[in-house]
Symmetry: D2
Subunit: 357 residues, 4 copies
Amino acid sequence: MSSMWGNIVKISIFGESHGNCVGVVIDGLEPGLKIDFEKLNLLLSRRKPGGKLTTPRKEDDEFQIMSGVKNGIVTGAPLSALTYNKNFNDKDYEELEKVARPSHSDYPAYIKFKGYNDLSGGGHFSARLTAPLVFAGGIAMQYLERKGIKVFSHIYSVGGIKDKPFESTETEKYYDILKDKTLKVLDDKAGADMLECIEKVQKEGDSVGGIVECAVTGLEVGIGNPIFGNLESVISSIIFAVPAVKGIEFGAGFSIADMKGSEANDLYIIKDGKIKTSSNNNGGILGGLSDGMPLILRTAFKPTPSIFKKQKSVDMVNLKESELLIKGRHDPCVALRGSVCIEAAVALAVYDSIRSL
Amino acid sequence: MSSMWGNIVKISIFGESHGNCVGVVIDGLEPGLKIDFEKLNLLLSRRKPGGKLTTPRKEDDEFQIMSGVKNGIVTGAPLSALTYNKNFNDKDYEELEKVARPSHSDYPAYIKFKGYNDLSGGGHFSARLTAPLVFAGGIAMQYLERKGIKVFSHIYSVGGIKDKPFESTETEKYYDILKDKTLKVLDDKAGADMLECIEKVQKEGDSVGGIVECAVTGLEVGIGNPIFGNLESVISSIIFAVPAVKGIEFGAGFSIADMKGSEANDLYIIKDGKIKTSSNNNGGILGGLSDGMPLILRTAFKPTPSIFKKQKSVDMVNLKESELLIKGRHDPCVALRGSVCIEAAVALAVYDSIRSL
Amino acid sequence: MSSMWGNIVKISIFGESHGNCVGVVIDGLEPGLKIDFEKLNLLLSRRKPGGKLTTPRKEDDEFQIMSGVKNGIVTGAPLSALTYNKNFNDKDYEELEKVARPSHSDYPAYIKFKGYNDLSGGGHFSARLTAPLVFAGGIAMQYLERKGIKVFSHIYSVGGIKDKPFESTETEKYYDILKDKTLKVLDDKAGADMLECIEKVQKEGDSVGGIVECAVTGLEVGIGNPIFGNLESVISSIIFAVPAVKGIEFGAGFSIADMKGSEANDLYIIKDGKIKTSSNNNGGILGGLSDGMPLILRTAFKPTPSIFKKQKSVDMVNLKESELLIKGRHDPCVALRGSVCIEAAVALAVYDSIRSL
Amino acid sequence: MSSMWGNIVKISIFGESHGNCVGVVIDGLEPGLKIDFEKLNLLLSRRKPGGKLTTPRKEDDEFQIMSGVKNGIVTGAPLSALTYNKNFNDKDYEELEKVARPSHSDYPAYIKFKGYNDLSGGGHFSARLTAPLVFAGGIAMQYLERKGIKVFSHIYSVGGIKDKPFESTETEKYYDILKDKTLKVLDDKAGADMLECIEKVQKEGDSVGGIVECAVTGLEVGIGNPIFGNLESVISSIIFAVPAVKGIEFGAGFSIADMKGSEANDLYIIKDGKIKTSSNNNGGILGGLSDGMPLILRTAFKPTPSIFKKQKSVDMVNLKESELLIKGRHDPCVALRGSVCIEAAVALAVYDSIRSL
């Protein structure tokens, strides 16, 4: 598996944080989509660092199309695109070459790749690699939109401060509400509190985690498969490619474990001539298949492991205890930028599942 | 994908709840393993219904080896095995053919398969299909044990009643503690409360959810891959094949979202000459790779959707509202039997990841 | 890969020559096909040994459906089927356990599987494993027939005696001509000569090779993919699963290497309002895609390696030269029974390519 | 499938003949290989057009490494590389947009991609796409060489003029003989005749086909798999990605069909303490596994379909008969440059098979 994913719509992600570029090949796209580049760049800009509360590293995420598009239209041949790396500072990582950054991939990657891997900025493990993921997901989203399917998300919590959750049976309305917001929250007061919390930890040289809630609306019934090709598996198989994600739950998720069947069961009703359910604790997925209700999931982001406090660690080359102080530029809360990555990953999973019917 | 899974160790699961049999083909096993059938059957018996608090349907889970084993030893050719279905009662399902059982796959499966699917007992969507999964996982476990890797789990919660969590840095000790227990809990008092809770909901004709916590110890450092082949994705891609699972989290999981980086980061130390971490909030996985700490994950099971209360539903063939009363035999808490399924799924994911290096 | 194959329609083949059974799981079939079992068994009977010029081993190729079919109709869940092994004589192989049979898999399989593989009758390498392939291919053929696509073949040559080749632009007519023939040849005189040749080598305790020519008619234009998903690759990737095949060629095949471009090029014409070509040296495939002309291919079968003459060989366990005299029952010309295997393999490749669009 | 291939070592090929670039991502390489770029470029130069008897289009096949290499050493992250397209002349194709070039992909590609595909120079179907294949194969070859495995080929025939075939039991000696030759033939007289033949057809505005014979020496015993993962299938699955290939045969290939078993069988002997065979009609592959003998295969190349004679064709947009005269620059015999593509493809197939053990 490694850095390729997909069944019919396959993607191959390449590049390193401080290497030449990061990029993606998307294989299996249907020909004929006129790509809305403005929309795509808007999506990419949500991932791009540089905001007040994101890393000041200016990543120029303008992707160059290398193949698969002619006159702005997808040809059906593999679509490849890349963006060159600029504005990074390898000096920030010089001292780190030997001392593993806590809660980063440095140490296991050093063992796996026998010391040959590119450690600067995390190399191929860097969150920079979500740029090609968002690019590919943005293309998938445009395909989905042609079918009336919308993928969107909000910041459900930051450091314990919670936004209002999606109302799970009538979810599509949030698309318009969230569309133009810079900070994707339903409750602006909660959003302000989140920002305050982030600023505070940032000043302390610390970071904080968060939860992203994502919805897919407009899905027809029966997408997915039994057993391994179930929608939850397919979505999870790509979601954890977003660094810092440590959990995923669908519908009522972990809280469903505390319920009784009579509370948890989503009862069928007929609404506007269609079969719907009166609640949506299953998050739109039954038996691994879409059931016609909004698909709802939440993912937990750990706090950015790169903090600006002295931390104990080990010199993994010489096998001795050490300390390190991380430099460079790092978001205090990756969940903020993570939301667009989740949307992209979910869009790819849903689009591939639809194409694999 | 559908009902096949794996990279080097591939499995193909087939069968229906009330069909001829359920079975599995396992392709890519290393030749030479002498299968410990007693151990394997012990594992299968944990999944097998029939206990006081599980469905009284007597599933004879004695698998017949159909190929790939000679004189009790794995040959390296595809290992196939199946167990015939007996002791089921199709009459229990006759009335259900048209009225979709809430929170089951009936309705989306009916749409996906255009009405041709076998609905009895859920057909190919049935939890009965976890029998071949546990069989295959049991084989994987025996391979892992040869490498000193142990996979085990406990019932972390039932209906809100919590067992003690695994201590996440020193986890291997629980293997022996749990090995011979019928009810896999660390705190027997909590276990007794869980059973009481289950009995209570059972009497009410209801069901209850639960959480299973699973650990893998003895993993070497560097198993897994960056981006899509990461251990979390590979594990999730098979875990959701276990029916009723609605969430998965690794290490501190969703609670990590509320932490600061300075709390969440697992600091490196040297212990007995090896690089370890002083905490294990990442659950043994960094950058998608095993980091030498115990791999810890939790999965949320929804309450069994088959309850014995009259429920509102719809006749999906004639598109009109209806009611149904489920008959048959169903566990009041699938999480109990689910724990061995989680172990099996995790063992397969870990074994395939090791083989794919 | 090993013993699983396919993109959307995936098959998993299991079993050994002298084991319990041989069987197959077919995953990804569209629901709703009413299987014509008579037709399927007729196809299987073409592969079945027992004829005058085939091995006298009576293989009962009556497959039992284990899952995926309800009331004779494909449900969409994995279709699994198997046939038990009977009428084999392990004593025939006892002496062979150590001495590798020339031109069989014995020696490399012994090394690959470290001596753990089942050698009797070739184990998982046996031509007996084409029974599940033909079963699966027969299902694929019935799907193709619903789309007006026919797959058929004839014995193009045996021991140098040649049948008339397919006329490659108007090929569909041969379907009816060949349908009811026991010996699939266009020129019955050539067929009689082939049989005479085979009888002669059989009396000598020898065997002889042959070539099978196969056609697919009714294919729409544009099936297949550029680069690796091309039709020739997909077909070849399954054809060599038929034991004894040592070569495959499409259209004019190897003879095209001697042509000039002006001879080889298939010029476009318009015929009955459709784009066709005036010749078909490319065998219906251009750039890896079907071009609307009959798909034509030929495969070379080596002579059955099991001959009844004393042969030099080596004791692979004790690494010393030896001799062996093969017993048992073996076809003098596997190409005869091979033709239906080629049809089955081609049908699967074409059906999967159509499903993967 | 489409433009991705491989099991453990996966490649993703992208680009178009007259687009921005052509390139490749190689996923699953072992870290630590110091790439010999001189050797790699030498290999690429064999594919590069520009020689007297190849197209005068000057393709600058200098690949830029985009990721996966640090200080000239493979890191283990996906290795991506591309080469920009220059020196093409789109005007040569303007007239062709509607009139399908005979024996090219134009017409079926137009149908498959609904007219959205890039037709210039064949777009993604162009032989230009073999540049990234040779790049990837060159990397694979360097890995194989570290294991003592050599992959090499010669031009076995051109327009019916035949070189001496490889002596199939003692084949490694040809590696040194061929290494420094510009025209890869064993018999220089035959080589001179081939060149004369090619010059003659070139003057006529015509082209000619050819056969490439390829060998792999130094393979250990037991590489490959039974059934679908057999070496012949794996090799074929990538060989037909080389445009113009219409057939492949292993060992004695099609001529084995005319043999008796007693002639065809490769008898085992012990030689220098190792098990070998006295002949090699099976081309080093038995039961899909390497048997310790040289792996030998031949592939048939059709004559370049682009000839400079007026040809009948059809206007595929307006569905009427037409004529066309191809301009541009095209090899009179693609087999010459094809030989290095075959080596590259075979090297990838063998390397992936070794890695997938």
